[in-house]
């Protein structure tokens, strides 16, 4: 095992786990904004309970998003110090902006939102959730700006072997950026929508007493997921043009552009294997298959009429069974994008073997095993907690519980000052 392979495995593991959680974060917060707005505008208690129930699941899910996000941020410096040395002048800027504009504010707002129930005025409390949602989207945007730069480096010039920023606007008009951003954001909406639909379907299939709440959640989830899957497909296919143009070697196969590029690289960087492993395009095929399957979500929309979706029962089970699909597709799509730029960290500019930190394979291996076990254990624990809280229903979520009310989930009463 060499350091490079271990470092790549660690990045793949952390990024995959991170992606599973942040997609849910981004999707759910969008729907939460709608629910809390409905509560503030209409004053209907059902929307308040919906916000508390889905909000609690959102907050539990957020924990792993932030934990893996911190590991991701440190990983660049720990394992890929060549990345910051050679291209940090350009690549560092969008990441720095992301941490300040998005990550920092998102967490600050969320802390106030969680502890602000019954304490802040409703408008302020709602504004905080809007803040959380806007910064979550800003976060996705700046991360995609940074990632798109790695896919297709633009707006820089190399002096003394180091890339310097020349045109920041080129990073924002990167052809690898906008369709990919649309694709990722709609995939997050699809995941959030389907998660909401599947959990509601589970409760409705068990004839929940909370029928009205889960009925409206089911309808929101199904419609969101159906609209989102069409956007996912649209942006996905729209990507092939610009991404294939910017990265001719990405999707395998041979084209005149790819051959010319490889000849150029061989002249500049020496002979080597400049094609990505086939693994990435195989995964891409499966992802497209899942994308088409989920397109069938539109069949559920007419069933919302007169609650046929609930009365027929089997559509509820289909929704529950479909829940893993967007998560698998997320990972496969991400692998296609990231593995597809091998053997480069920054496409055609910085090969992975020059970017990896010069540390011993033992240390890198320890870090890989340690973080994989730690994040894996936390991810599984988190999903178990999510499943339990989802199954418990919306009767009395801890989030937003009035301070005077004794917590039903506590085995003994809290002291007055808690």
């Amino acid at each position: 095992m060499d350091t490079l392979l271990l470092a790549r495995l660690q990045f793949a593991t952390t990024a995959s786990v991170h992606f599973l959680f942040v997609a849910v974060t981004l999707g759910l917060v969008t729907l939460l904004v709608g629910m809390q707005t409905a509560w503030v505008v209409t004053g209907n208690q059902r929307w308040e309970r919906s916000t508390r129930f889905w909000g609690q699941l959102y907050v539990i899910n957020y924990v792993l998003g932030i934990a893996t996000g911190i590991v991701m941020e440190f990983q660049f410096g720990l394992n890929w110090s060549g990345l910051s040395r050679y291209v940090g002048n350009v690549f560092g800027a969008p990441l720095a902006i992301e941490t300040l504009v998005a990550f920092f504010l998102e967490s600050t707002f969320l802390g106030m939102w969680i502890f602000g129930w019954h304490r802040l005025r409703r408008g302020v409390h709602l504004a905080l959730l809007y803040g959380v949602a806007i910064t979550a989207y800003a976060s996705a945007f700046w991360i995609m700006v940074a990632n798109s730069w790695l896919q297709n480096p633009v707006g820089y010039e190399v002096r003394d072997g180091v890339a310097h920023l020349t045109d920041f606007s080129a990073l924002l008009t990167n052809p690898a950026l906008w369709t990919a951003l649309g694709h990722v954001v709609s995939a997050a909406l699809l995941t959030g929508g389907l998660l909401m639909a599947a959990i509601s379907a589970w409760h409705l299939s068990r004839r929940t007493p909370d029928f009205a709440l889960f009925r409206s959640s089911l309808r929101i989830g199904v419609v969101t997921a159906a609209v989102a899957i069409s956007l996912v497909q649209g942006f996905g296919f729209a990507q092939f043009g610009p991404v294939g143009g910017a990265q001719p070697t990405k999707f395998g196969g041979t084209s005149p552009q790819a051959e010319a590029l490889i000849a150029d690289w061989t002249a500049r960087f020496g002979p080597g294997d400049y094609l990505p492993p086939t693994l990435s395009s195989v995964g891409l095929g499966f992802m497209i298959l899942i994308g088409f399957t989920l397109g069938l979500l539109w069949l559920f929309v007419p069933l919302l009429w007169r609650d046929w979706i609930i009365r027929l029962r089997f559509p509820l089970w289909l929704l529950i069974l479909a829940l893993p699909l967007p998560f698998v597709a997320l990972i496969l799509g991400w692998i296609a994008r990231e593995v597809g730029r091998q053997p480069w960290v920054a496409y055609g500019l910085l090969p992975v073997d020059q970017a990896v930190s010069p540390i011993s394979p033992w240390l890198m291996g320890t870090s890989l095993v340690g973080f994989t076990l730690l994040l894996g254990a936390l991810a599984v624990t988190n999903w178990v907690l999510l499943a339990r809280h989802a199954a418990r229903g919306a009767a009395d979520p801890a989030l937003g519980r009035p301070p005077a009310q004794p917590p039903a989930d506590d085995p003994r009463p809290e002291p007055a000052f808690a």
């Binding site: 792993l64 932030i66 996000g69 911190i70 590991v71 941020e73 440190f74 660049f76 410096g77 720990l78 394992n79 110090s81 060549g82 990345l83 910051s84 040395r85 002048n89 350009v90 560092g92 800027a93 990441l95 720095a96 902006i97 941490t99 300040l100 990550f103 920092f104 504010l105 600050t108 802390g111 106030m112 502890f115 602000g116 019954h118 304490r119 802040l120 310097h164 020349t166 920041f168 930190s357 010069p358 540390i359 240390l363 870090s367 340690g370 994040l375 936390l378 988190n382 907690l385 801890a398 937003g400 519980r401 301070p403 989930d409 085995p411 003994r412 809290e414 007055a416 000052f417 808690a418």
Partner: protein, 335 residues
């Protein structure tokens, strides 16, 4: 321009040590063996601030990457074991605090509390060792990379790690005397005062070990400033102890917050104009200017920072203002 960004980096990392410091201090104090409801009350005293505290670290590393990319790579990769320990600690604390009350059973919550204790321990020790690593110089080769990681294992690094650990516990206890209801605060005060003395002793011990280490003496560009700031740090801790004795927890908290911020200033000022001093070749040492990103990047980030900083600090201040004062029965309980 480089100096402004260096100061900003220092501000955010010091801010993290102050704010994250009491998270970890409160986390470590969970190990006291008090009953479950008191542990929960302590965590909910941190409550609304918790998520806003730890992101100061995220912002500091963001600034490190954006404005000092070369330093980011060499500092983190060159202090691998320390950063790894701190990072595992940060992850354990963030997951532990937010998830500990989600299971119902007292046993599961107790287990999560132990996770928080271990995480706080690792984070405090890890950051302490990383700061010590800067002060004792790193084996930076002429090719710009740090050679190996064994340079971290010295008595000075161990002493500094323990000193930062003692600082966070004392800071956490002081925070609780400020934030808990009066009755609880009165019970905590003697403990906080003892912990402040322990911290002062630990910091003094680390300073003595540092002064007697050749590597630290050779690395320090301004030893006098370093000694002066260390004295100031101990003075701040003793001042906090006096303030607690006079029942002025607010003053005491300001003093311990100063004590947590001072190590960052100490490292920055003692090494200036360098940021990484090489123990192998003097020419390989990295100055703040060398480590900084090139002009266009700093200018771009500068234009962004001007409107953004007031917003960032303003929203944090809003959080502190809304949830000011001691916790009471009207405060939501979530952690």
């Amino acid at each position: 321009m480089e100096l402004a960004w260096y100061a900003l980096l220092g501000l955010f990392f010091a801010g993290y040590l102050v704010l994250g410091g009491y998270d970890y201090g409160v986390g470590l104090l969970l190990a006291r063996g008090v009953d479950a409801s008191r542990r929960r009350a302590a965590l909910n005293a941190v409550g609304p601030f918790f998520l806003g505290n730890e992101v100061w670290l995220v912002a500091a590393v963001g600034i490190l990457f954006g404005a000092f990319p070369v330093l980011e790579g060499e500092l983190l990769a060159g202090s691998y074991p320390a950063v790894l320990a701190a990072l595992v600690g940060v992850i354990l604390v963030t997951a532990g605090v937010q998830l500990r009350s989600r299971p119902e059973g007292e046993r599961a919550r107790g287990a999560w509390d132990r996770v928080i204790v271990i995480g706080s321990l690792l984070a405090a020790l890890g950051w302490g060792v990383m700061l010590a690593g800067l002060l004792q110089g790193v084996p930076l080769r002429a090719d710009g990379h740090v050679a190996g990681v064994t340079h971290l294992f010295t008595p000075f690094a161990a002493a500094t790690g323990l000193a930062v650990l003692a600082l966070t516990v004392a800071h956490g206890a002081t925070f609780l005397t400020l934030r808990m209801p009066v009755a609880e605060s009165d019970q905590l005060r003697p403990l906080a005062r003892r912990l402040l003395v322990t911290a002062a002793v630990a910091v003094s011990a680390a300073a003595v070990v540092g002064l007697s280490a050749d590597r630290v003496r050779a690395t320090a560009q301004r030893p006098a400033v370093g000694v002066l700031l260390a004295v100031l740090l101990v003075a701040a801790l003793l001042a906090a102890r006096v303030a607690l004795g006079r029942r002025r927890p607010g003053v005491a908290f300001v003093a311990t917050a100063t004590a947590l911020a001072l190590p960052v200033l100490l490292v920055g000022a003692t090494l200036w104009p360098y940021v990484l001093v090489s123990t192998l070749e003097p020419n390989a040492s990295l100055t703040v200017t060398d480590a900084a990103a090139s002009g266009p990047t700093l200018r771009l980030l500068g234009w962004l920072a001007v409107p953004l900083l007031p917003a960032l600090l303003g929203f944090q201040a809003m959080c502190w203002w809304i949830f000011r004062g001691r916790t009471d029965g009207r405060a939501p309980v979530y952690w």
